[in-house]
Amino acid sequence: MKAKKIILYLICVCAANTMVGQDLLGILDKEHQDTPQYTQATFKFTRIAFGHSIETRKKGILDVFVANRFWNTPADRAQSFAADRLSTRIALEYGISDRLSMGFGGTTYDGLFDGYLKYKLIRQRSDGGGSPFSVTLFQGSSYFSEGVVPPTIQDDFSNRLSFTTQLLIGKKISPNFSLQIAPSFIHRGLEYSPEDPQSHFAIGFGGRYKLGNHVSVVSEYYYTANPIESFDTYGPFALGVNWEIGDVMLQFMLTNAVRMVEDSFITQTRHNFNFRNPNLNFGFNMTYVLHFKRHLKNK
């Protein structure tokens, strides 16, 4: 009887000791849970292929962004060895805060000068709590600078402006795979034909798959619900590779979209995606990243 009691006490005491002496890493794990974890780098670039991604630049980062499209004119008119036509958009894009970016650019081919503001509204959380996806608001506008030939078109400054509003909804589904849906509203300033709507509703789909730590495959497509009627338009599609090397980011893509400003490529892509000239474009974008804010300056 006595022996039983002693053993019982022993067991109780030992159990109490082991419960107190739980492993130290376990204690630290519990401490970690208080800090919210936000998903990083749903996309590495501020673009997926030609369209904007949910990513904004961090505070104090200036992107020098050069986008090029090369394409050939149809065979009987083709002249050059490499590419017959070239369009370039040169832009400066700056992170005002960690969530707000802005950019200005100009395009050679269609004479558009554009500017945008982008704000990261909701950030995806990776620790289970919070939002399961990220939402970024995009507001862009462009000014058409080229001469307008048809005299029927009413031409003044405000008519040359077009506006794009986008709600970019993105999710990093796995470390390698991210998806984005972009409901968009576009208002075009110039009315080429009375049968055309000036306001368009469109939706964009984009995705990224990481092949390695520095290389990913991207694809993007926009569907316009009420397209321009007076000439044929197609949804812009792109298949590309994004490659980042330190402060330089390169994008290579095959696309049917010649134009590079949102309102113009979503509604005014005139060629389908196939391998006949001038339908297929080769796109090459280069971003050079400059940091104006040093985070460890005080050390």
Binding site: K2, K5, I6, Y9, L10, V13, C14, N17, V20, G21, D23, L24, L25, I27, L28, D29, E31, H32, T35, Q37, T39, Q40, A41, K44, K58, K59, G60, I61, G95, S126, K172, P175, N213, H214, E244, I245, G246, D247, V289, H291, K293, R294, H295, L296, K299
Partner: protein, 181 residues
């Protein structure tokens, strides 16, 4: 008599662990440096957790990789996304024992820590020299060690091999407070 024996055992067992006492550092600092001729990279994490069991001399450290702040914001993104893969391996941990540690000794003592350091899915046995300062029961642990990038299966593309050093020097400093669970 029959009631005294169990009580005796009870006191004996509790008596063995009078310093069942843990100290924790919640804002420990870990920084690392990579010096090359091309580029110096420096990063700092001010939210590193560490805990010491003063009775067993066990020490544990845990840090979130995405809490490292870099000079350049983009480097932080690259570090997490392309090198350390913090989506898959969010933490680096260390678990070990301080050898010949005397918690009651006031002032400075230099001791060795032996344990396992895990990062990027790789565990390495490490022996690190640390300095322990005990100022009236407040402990500060600091030290430096070198980590070989190769050891932790971190891939660096050949194009950037010149930008990242092969050995990274890691500095740490933890200030402990009594831990109440």
């Amino acid at each position: 008599m029959s009631k005294v024996i169990p009580l005796f055992f009870l006191f004996m067992f509790y008596g063995q662990q009078p310093t069942e006492e843990k100290i924790i550092a919640r804002q420990g600092r870990v920084s690392f440096f990579s010096y090359t001729s091309v580029e110096n990279i420096k990063a700092e994490n001010n939210q590193v957790l560490s805990i010491i069991d003063l009775s067993t001399h066990d020490i544990a450290v845990s840090m979130l990789m995405n809490a490292f702040i870099f000079e350049k914001a983009l480097m932080r993104e690259h570090f997490n996304e392309s090198y350390i893969e913090s989506d898959i391996y969010p933490k680096a941990t260390f678990e070990g024992k301080i050898l010949d540690f005397d918690p009651s000794q006031e002032g400075e003592q230099t001791r060795m820590v032996k344990g396992t350091f895990s990062m990027h899915g790789v565990s390495k046995e490490l022996e690190i020299k640390i300095k322990i300062e005990n100022i009236q029961g407040t402990y500060i642990v600091s030290g430096t060690f070198e980590a070989y990038v190769k050891d932790y299966s971190i891939k660096i593309p050949p194009l950037l091999a010149g930008n990242i050093a092969k050995t990274i020097s890691v500095d740490f400093r933890f200030e402990y407070q009594p831990y109440e669970s």
